[in-house]
């Protein structure tokens, strides 16, 4: 057998051999290994090609063509097999793949429910055109009380048990000082909300010495009770439920006149006073209503403190307890949970 025949036979046998090996290969890596053995720089095909110079010059082009044809064929077989294997893998053919194993999930962070409620409330009021303002938590007696029409000795000071730093410095008992601070800095028309921590000297099942409030106020000419009612009704319906009922009860705050407390229909029992199973609702104590905020038309005395003419300007103000809203919104029944920071509690507000 001459060299030409021998080489041509070797070349053709490569095809069968390659096909056989590829058919046995079950992974892309095995295909790649076979490719290196047959088609690599030092592979079987290359080794045969390297013997071309041994041939008669006249035989070289024919064998060379055959070699190229074989190479094309080998590549075609390889591609076909690769495609088939990939299809098989995509069809779930890889039995080691288990989609039910746990994923590499990054940690889930969470925002405190108080933060979430402040965000929700802020978004509503920012949408209505209110700005967000902040102020000191250690506050002067002037801003916390006097400027809000609560002179020393006023019995309404008893409504808020105060933590003092010095005689004239308190831990703010409400976010209302921001009314005065903001009015001092700006001129009407103005509308702002002030979220933040407040402090009272009170600690029991339903009181913590620190909690959060949001104060809101709006000052312009011709602001009326109707503006206040419209704003707070819209707010309550957005934060709780579009069907929630809102009730305004006259009340007393030294820095608003008239003043009112706002109740919403109880979110736990839908204002029925009783749960579905007939038991009495503990959230509203059977009344069907729960108090959520205090509000009123800004008292002329407060305007005088900041140099606004009460005959020209009117305005409204309101203040609400954030934890209270969070309890109603999320059904939390224990106030103390808010400051224990148990991560099993926090996790629920991811």
């Amino acid at each position: 057998m001459n060299t030409v025949q021998e080489l041509n036979n070797s070349l053709k046998s490569l095809i069968q051999e390659f096909e056989h090996i590829l058919n046995q290969a079950s992974s892309l890596q095995e295909l790649e290994d076979a490719r290196v053995v047959f088609l690599g720089r030092k592979g079987k095909l290359a080794r045969i090609m390297s013997r071309l110079p041994e041939l008669d010059p006249a035989d070289r082009p024919g064998t060379g063509r055959t070699a190229n044809e074989v190479k094309t064929e080998l590549n075609r077989i390889l591609e076909n097999r690769k495609e088939a294997l990939e299809k098989q893998a995509a069809a779930g053919g890889d039995i080691t793949f288990d989609p039910t194993l746990p994923g590499r999930t990054p940690d889930m962070g969470s925002l405190h429910p108080v933060t979430r409620v402040i965000q929700d409330i802020s978004n509503i009021f920012v949408g209505l055109g209110f700005d967000i303002v902040t102020g000191p938590e250690v506050e002067t007696d002037f801003y916390n009380f006097e400027a809000l029409n609560l002179p020393p000795g006023h019995p309404a000071r008893d409504m808020q048990d105060t933590l003092y730093i010095t005689k004239s410095l308190v831990l703010r008992t409400h976010t209302s000082p921001l009314q005065v601070r903001t009015m001092e800095k700006r001129r009407p028309p103005l509308a702002a909300i002030a979220p933040g921590k407040v402090y009272r000297r009170d600690s029991d099942l339903t009181h913590t010495p620190m909690f959060h409030q949001i104060e809101g106020f709006l000052v312009d000419t011709h602001v009326s009770m109707a503006d206040l009612r419209g704003t707070l009704t819209a707010f309550a319906q957005r934060i709780f439920d579009p069907d929630v009922k809102v009730r305004f009860r006259p009340s007393f705050f030294p820095f608003t006149e008239p003043s009112a407390e706002v109740d919403i229909s109880c979110v736990m029992c839908q204002g029925q006073g009783r749960n579905q199973d007939g038991s009495t609702c503990r959230v509203c104590k059977e009344t069907g209503w729960v108090e959520v905020l205090g509000c009123g038309m800004i008292d002329p005395e407060v305007f005088l403190q900041v140099g606004y003419d009460p005959d020209i300007y009117t305005g409204f103000a309101f203040g609400l307890g954030v934890e209270r809203v969070a309890m109603l919104k999320y059904g939390i029944n224990d106030l103390r949970m808010f400051f224990e920071n148990d991560i099993r509690f926090l996790n629920q507000f991811a």
Binding site: L163, I165, D220, F248, R249, N347
Partner: protein, 798 residues
């Protein structure tokens, strides 16, 4: 304020339901917090008539009674009371009844005789102190009648939350005025029909002298003589008990009764214990002492107001009487005081001494001076009618500051504009008149004379509130405000927005937000070695654990950690944004409030098990978070510098950003973390958010064209002594002045076993902006850095 419905009905004929009344009161600002049934345990008791009484055959002190309780058969009841007799009407607890003390009545045999119930005493029913015998009721009552009904006990009591501006509503009379106005009913004042007895005149017996007219604008007194001190009548005792006042004796009960009914606190002195013939109202001497009714000796100051006789103080005005002149069983003559004291004086005294009484509560809010004479006369009349004693002629009185009703102007248009109403003049007139105002009209505006019992009404806006209150704030129109606002003003305050962005960042990185109290204990700060200077102490803390404002966020988070570890939560990734508080005389309030971010990592690095390694977090997890935060502000120029001897962190690393120190990170010292039950390292960072905010505001991304030519990457391994920091190597390389060096990163660090040196492998990335680099020029530049490193640092190359 507890209001008895039957008492209210003596003043105004309200016939409607209790629920309707509660609702209307609530909706005019007198919130009914609870509807109370004051004697719920008495409802199963009935009136029985003792038909026959026999001696118990087996016991000397027991009687066998046959009692008619309205049914066909009479009951056999064994009774141990000495005063039980045939023919009496008595209170019977039937089988199944539970007595107030918890005892349940069952059919029993007592010494062989059947007993089918119990005949009760006052004490057993908690209706009084008389336990000597059973209660004997009036003869006329039909057996079987409910006991509550037979005794005329109050059926309903409303617990009303009265706001501090409405002292007038701290009485049955005041609430009756509101109810009469609301339901358009008449107001029936009790008829005064005082019978003054004897020929002696009170004004001859007692002189009143007021040294402090501002503190006491009115003082008046009557004398009741020939007194018999004993329990008050049952109806009065029951009524007092229904509204939570303990009956004492006939004299004191009348003073309490009048206070609840008319709102005027009265005080009764034992006149035989008063010395001399005058009463003087004056300030106390600072430092003097006085023993009040409750037998407590009180130290006084010169703002306290005292009532004195010729020789001694006898009462702390408006707050509490003195032990030295208290009514007792032998009191035969009473001086009855009805005065008005300055609310501020009373308030400061009551608060300072922690002596809050029903009396001081009313004086602090303001009692109606014009109504005082009526209250005194009605009290005297009751005492006389109830046989407590005889009333002398006349009233000893001094009124240095008579009260005058206030006149306030009222414009209907103003009311309509503020309340968004459209009510007419007639409506306003009707409402204000129903509330006791008198109105004169002058050319369109109303001059309103406000009744003296409404101290809360001093301005037009207060009258407007009354219109709104009676109209119903809940019925006024509502709409969203239409406000024109300047956009310029929205710029001022970005604190909230910035803090919110930090919280979102932290949540995104899998941290959980905590909120801890702003106050901690002094000892918490001491324990962490934080200096005493600058701490902001709470003057009147609730407890020692909350007596100082936190200057550092760590203690709060340590308590959170401790709580969680106690609950079995052993992997914690926490953050908190809150203010720290430090004294600073340059700030407006003398306290600097600084927004901080605290990060705390504890336990396993990964939350799952498979396929993660089960190792714990370390410094680089914490540092990575801080670096990520700095990068989120658009630049990465944080430097981390070891700090020696930190009081609570070891290691402690300062974070410097844009050449400003912005915080500290490290591991809480083990001896400190152990106290909070930590078994592993606590990694903690504390960053100054105000500084970060300042540094980052105004930083905005700057676009740079993307490179068009390829990079060349070369690795360089540096052998360094153990104490040499990576940062030092990096700084030499970066500052070598190699323009084509684009990036340096650490690809490997190797610490050989023998621990004498370490190897950093740096990957250097080179690129020229305008052309492809040649190998030779990269070789040249890299050699430049090698030479420089050898020159500047004790390093070598392998």
């Amino acid at each position: 304020m507890l209001l008895s419905l039957s008492w209210l009905r003596e003043f105004t004929p309200y016939k409607g339901s209790i629920d309707e009344l509660s609702h209307r009161l609530t909706m005019v600002g007198l919130e009914v917090e609870e509807i109370i049934r004051p004697f719920p345990h008495l409802s199963p008791l009935v009136v029985g008539r003792v038909i026959e009484k026999r001696q118990h055959p087996g016991a000397d002190k027991l009687s066998l009674c046959s009692v008619n309780v309205g049914g066909p058969d009479s009951l056999n009841i064994v009774c141990g009371a000495p005063n039980v007799e045939a023919g009496q009407n008595v209170a019977v607890a039937l089988e199944g009844t539970k007595l107030p003390g918890g005892q349940e009545i069952r059919k029993t045999r007592i010494r062989g005789e059947t007993s089918q119930g119990m005949i009760c005493s006052e004490t057993e029913l908690e209706l009084g102190q008389d336990s000597a015998g059973i209660m004997v009721l009036n003869d006329g009552i039909k057996p079987g009648t409910g006991l509550s009904y037979a005794l005329g006990l109050e059926e309903f009591v409303l617990d009303i939350g009265v706001t501090p501006n409405r002292p007038d509503c701290l009485s049955v009379l005041g609430l009756a005025r509101e109810v009469a106005a609301l339901f358009d009913l008449p107001l029936n004042m009790p008829v005064l029909n005082l019978y003054e007895d004897g020929d002696r005149d009170c004004t001859d017996e007692v002189q009143i002298e007021i040294e402090d007219p501002a503190g006491c604008p009115l003082y008046q007194a009557r004398i009741i003589s020939g007194c018999h001190i004993r329990p008050g009548p049952a109806w009065m005792r029951h009524r007092l008990m229904a509204v939570g006042v303990r009956p004492i004796n006939n004299i004191v009960d009348v003073t309490n009764y009048i206070m609840l009914e008319l709102g005027h606190p009265l005080h009764a002195f034992d006149r035989t214990l008063l010395e001399g013939d005058w009463i003087r109202v004056a300030r106390a001497h600072s430092g003097s002492r006085f023993t009040t009714l409750d037998n407590q000796e009180r130290e006084l100051n010169d703002r306290d107001l005292l009532i004195r006789d010729t020789r001694k103080p006898v009462a702390l005005a408006g707050v509490m009487g003195g032990a030295n002149t208290e009514i007792n069983d032998r009191s035969s003559e009473v001086l009855l005081e009805c005065a008005v004291f300055n609310p501020l004086n009373i308030r400061q005294t009551a608060r300072r001494l922690g002596l809050h009484s029903e009396s001081s509560f009313r004086f602090e809010r303001g009692v109606d001076q014009a109504g005082a004479p009526f209250a005194l006369d009605r009290a005297a009349q009751l005492m006389s009618e109830l046989g407590c004693g005889r009333v002398y002629k006349g009233v000893a009185k001094s009124e240095p500051r008579p009260c005058k009703p206030l006149q306030v102007g009222f414009r209907r248009e103003r009311a309509n504009s503020l309340l968004a109403l459209d009510v007419d003049q007639e409506y306003c007139r009707r409402v204000l008149t129903s509330l006791g105002c008198q109105i004169q009209e002058e050319s369109g505006t109303m001059q309103v004379t406000v009744p003296t019992y409404r101290p809360d009404i001093t301005r037009e806006v207060d009258l407007i509130e009354e219109i709104g209150r009676v109209y119903g704030l809940d019925k006024t129109p509502e709409h969203l405000p239409k406000v024109q606002k300047s956009l310029e003003q929205g710029e001022a305050d970005h604190e909230y927005e910035f803090l919110d962005s930090i919280k979102q960042w932290a949540r995104g990185l899998g941290l959980q937000e905590t909120i801890n109290y702003s106050f901690v204990g002094m000892t918490d700060l001491d324990f962490l070695g934080i200096p005493l200077e600058g701490r902001v102490r709470v003057f009147n803390p609730l407890s020692e654990e909350q007596d100082v404002m936190r200057s550092h966020l760590l203690p709060g988070l340590l308590y959170t950690l401790k709580h969680n570890l106690g609950q079995g939560n052993t992997r914690l990734r926490l953050f908190e944004t809150a203010r720290s508080f430090v004294q600073d005389q340059t700030s407006e309030t003398g306290v600097r409030e600084n927004n901080r971010l605290a990060l705390m990592l504890y336990g396993r690095r990964h939350r799952g098990h498979w396929p993660y390694p089960q190792d714990d977090v370390d410094f680089y997890d914490l540092k990575g978070l801080v670096e990520n935060l700095l990068q989120s502000f658009g630049s990465f120029e944080g430097h981390f510098v070891l700090q020696e001897n930190h009081s609570y962190l070891e290691p402690a690393v300062r974070c410097v950003y844009h050449r400003k120190e912005i915080g500290l990170l490290g591991r809480v010292r083990p001896e400190q973390s152990r106290v909070y039950k930590a078994r592993k390292d606590i990694w903690f960072a504390d960053l100054d958010l105000d500084k970060l905010h300042e540094l980052c505001s105004g930083v905005k991304p700057q676009f740079q064209a993307l490179p068009r030519f390829p990079v060349v990457k070369r690795d360089m391994t540096v052998v360094a002594p153990l104490e040499l920091g990576y940062q030092q190597v990096l700084e030499v390389v970066e500052n070598a002045g190699v323009a084509i060096l684009e990036d340096v990163s650490l690809v490997d660090m190797y610490l050989p076993q023998e621990q004498q040196e370490k190897k950093f492998t740096l990957r250097l990335t080179y690129r020229h902006p305008d052309r492809t680099l040649k190998d030779s020029e990269v070789d040249r530049e890299q050699q430049k850095m090698v030479d420089l490193l050898l020159k500047k640092l004790p390093v070598g190359f392998p």
